[in-house]
């Protein structure tokens, strides 16, 4: 990837995992509503298969976004810390300081989003469909 990254790549890196989580979340939720909130027999959906499938796709998107952030963080780490050592403030002038900042933000966001996606992606299919808690 070229440096500095284009806006599209940058914002994918920062937000990709979060958006993947949001899509996985809303879609899987509506699958469960369709299957479990409806009177029995109305929908017969293989929701565990769909949940697993969608979770895998979402996790892959999250991993892609994470790798963008890892690359960007590595690329700007040295530059930013040299600048930091020279002055009191946080890091170097735009865009390096901002890019480093966004990379760190993206890493954490993606890590947490991946955690939720993996927790639910593994947990939901282990449960009996439509058993009440």
């Amino acid at each position: 990837m070229r440096y500095p990254p284009s806006n599209r790549v940058l914002w994918f890196g920062v937000l990709g995992g979060a958006v993947a989580w949001a899509v996985q979340f809303v879609t899987n939720l509506y699958f469960t509503f369709a299957q479990c909130n409806s009177p029995s027999g109305r929908w017969m959906l293989p929701i565990h298969d769909w949940e697993i499938g969608l979770s895998i796709v979402a996790v892959l998107v999250g991993l892609a976004a994470t790798s963008v952030c890892v690359w960007l963080y590595g690329r700007t780490f040295h530059l930013d810390h040299v600048a930091e050592a020279e002055r009191r403030g946080l890091g170097s002038a735009p865009p390096t300081g901002r890019l480093s900042f966004m990379a760190m933000v993206g890493l954490t966001v993606n890590f947490l989003a991946l955690s939720i996606m993996i927790m639910t992606g593994v947990g939901a299919p282990l449960l009996h469909v439509c058993q009440q808690s």
Partner: protein, 210 residues
């Protein structure tokens, strides 16, 4: 920041040509454009909630639509929505003409879009009344969500028409100043989002028949 860089005093752009120049010189989107974009985020959330509610009620019912109510006809709503969605083209060109400083084109393009939008709304009102004769919102949850979803959408189209007329009035009365150039761009953005929402709403409305 060394000295005072050569940035424009945008509000001083009173003529169409000056406004166009200011528009092309900007690096970021103007504040008014951002304001409209964020307002539209809230409107998208609004429709998301309405459509989510539609399917929530759908999924938890025995039969949808309930017994005695025919699923909606498909052809007219789809054709009408296609016509509305196509008005994004004149609106897109209106925004481009505004950035180029051509007031006459802007006015003509908005008028074209306005005519189609008014015809769309008139047809939809007729269809709405026709549906009301078949079943009512007070008769079932299906009726309630069906008519509410459509009414909220049509209200947005009506609001857009009022915005069209307001922008046209000020373009004639005040000219294509910087302020109204941003207004035209905001208006175009409004219609793009409303048109996309129209497509989603019509597919929701017609989901039992598809």
């Amino acid at each position: 920041m060394k000295g005072t860089p050569a940035v424009t005093r945008s509000s001083a752009a009173w003529s169409a040509a000056a406004a166009g120049r200011v528009s092309r010189q900007r690096m970021a989107q103007p504040n008014g454009w951002w304001g409209m974009a964020l307002f539209l985020c809230a409107e998208v959330a609004l429709f998301g909630t309405l459509i989510g509610s539609y399917f929530y009620l759908d999924f938890q019912s025995h039969q949808w639509p309930p017994a005695g109510i025919k699923p909606p006809g498909v052809v007219l709503p789809l054709l009408a929505t296609a016509a509305l969605a196509l008005t994004s083209l004149p609106m897109l060109h209106a925004a481009r003409s505004a950035r180029a400083g051509r007031r006459g084109s802007v006015i003509a393009l908005i008028v074209i879009a306005l005519v189609v939008q008014c015809c769309y709304l008139a047809l939809q009102i007729l269809l709405f009344r026709h549906d009301l004769n078949q079943f009512t919102p007070q008769g079932s949850a299906y009726g309630s969500i069906y008519f509410t979803l459509l009414a909220v959408h049509h209200a947005h189209v009506l609001f857009g028409i009022v915005l069209d007329l307001t922008v046209l009035f000020f373009l004639v009365y005040r000219g294509l100043t910087n302020y109204w150039l941003i207004g035209v761009r905001g208006l175009a953005l409004y219609w793009h989002v409303v048109n996309v929402l129209a497509v989603i709403v019509v597919f929701t409305q017609l989901s039992p028949s598809l």
